[in-house]
């Protein structure tokens, strides 16, 4: 629970009671192999929530034609499975995409947490609202911009999320997704992703060595990508005075 607490603690002072609530939510800690599927009825049922301690995951949906869409990426400290909470059946598939350590708890545990600490409810609600804003941004990106902008936006999202938990930002790193997965995340084919990565490289905006990339021209990447870092803009003051 270290990373969850670190993330929330950065944003709002957590009392000892609240820390206990958060820690108490998720008693079970589990390790997962890369490639595991969560949130499919066979395994845990759709009523489970996960907190990412370590590793990378993504949420996706499969289409009848065999295509796949990735709707959300998860990093350390994220709460996974929000969109499944109010439904009988899972609305999305959660894939573990690197060796991962997760805290698992049933959504039912939230009930007690909300009842005993309204501030915890406000925190969860706030994060759901922020996820909303992030999904909005993605929708704008995919619906109304060219492939090159979507790719730039995704690269910026991944670096921003990496640096959120990390103490010192790394300027060279791997995206953690195959080109086909990148395509699923931004609504392009793997072929086109490959070509666009090449143009970013040829234009001197990124450097690449195998799966590792380095941002060579952050300013230009941001200009192309229009990415907004919602985590950086978060403002939890609206409830901190009274709760």
């Amino acid at each position: 629970m270290k990373n969850l607490l670190a993330k929330y603690g950065q944003l709002t002072e957590l009392s000892v009671d609240e820390q206990e609530i958060f820690t108490g939510l998720a008693a079970t800690k589990r390790e997962y192999e890369s490639g595991s599927i969560l949130s499919v009825d066979e395994l845990d049922g759709p009523d489970q929530l996960y907190v990412v301690e370590e590793g990378r995951l993504f949420a996706s949906n499969d289409l009848p034609g065999g295509e796949r869409a990735i709707t959300r990426l998860y990093f350390s400290g994220d709460i996974v499975g929000t969109a499944n909470i109010p439904f009988e059946k899972a609305t999305q598939t959660i894939t573990v995409n690197s060796p991962a350590v997760l805290y698992v708890f049933p959504r039912r545990n939230l009930v007690e947490a909300f009842a005993s600490m309204p501030r915890v409810a406000a925190i969860f609600y706030t994060f759901a609202a922020m996820e909303n804003a992030i999904l909005n941004d993605r929708l704008v990106s995919i619906g109304r911009t060219r492939g090159i902008s979507r790719l730039a936006s995704l690269i910026l999202e991944i670096t921003a999320r990496r640096n959120l938990i990390r103490q010192s930002p790394e300027y060279e790193f791997t995206l953690g997704l195959t080109q086909a997965q990148i395509g699923d995340a931004i609504g392009l084919t793997e072929v086109q992703v490959n070509r666009l990565l090449r143009t970013l490289r040829e234009d001197g905006i990124i450097e690449r060595d195998g799966s590792r990339i380095k941002i060579a021209d952050q300013a230009r990447l941001e200009e192309i990508g229009l990415f907004k870092d919602r985590y950086a803009d978060l403002d939890l003051d609206w409830f901190t005075d009274e709760l």
Copy 2:
């Protein structure tokens, strides 16, 4: 507050106390002209929430190039502005798209509601999670399907949402959006929207008379659109036993 209570009351029994909380949240009731803009700092500030009693609204984002993306449509009973809650500045523009009656309240009022009634917190959290799922669906539709599917999906979404509050479903109605707005909602140009509407008509799937449309072949429309009615699938039982 009639429509909000009706919507929630359909899903979960509301106690008198809870009904009072909901009603007490939003003291102010206002009328808006079609075309009004909410949630821009000039007007109400981004810290306002709205409950739609009557009318149609949508949330949109403008891009530097002048394009616009519509990310969410709002109908009677909806809570508007969730994605703006955790931020200083509004993350989206809310446009009133028909004469409307709204209840207005500052997000701060949620704090008291959460504190006095954890069940209300659970309800708000649940609806935020459902919005999440709907945005996911939209993302899948826009990122990974052809224009014709996106259009079908939007038509189905609008009819589903209309019929949710309405006692008797109408089979002939207006979408309430111009073709340019439809384009902004599904990531196409107005030209393409027009052509796709034509092909739907020529294929006998819908009938059109000016802005009014009628679904002639619901089954085929659903087959094309892949729309999932998340409202119909909602399950609030996860917290009702204990709260």
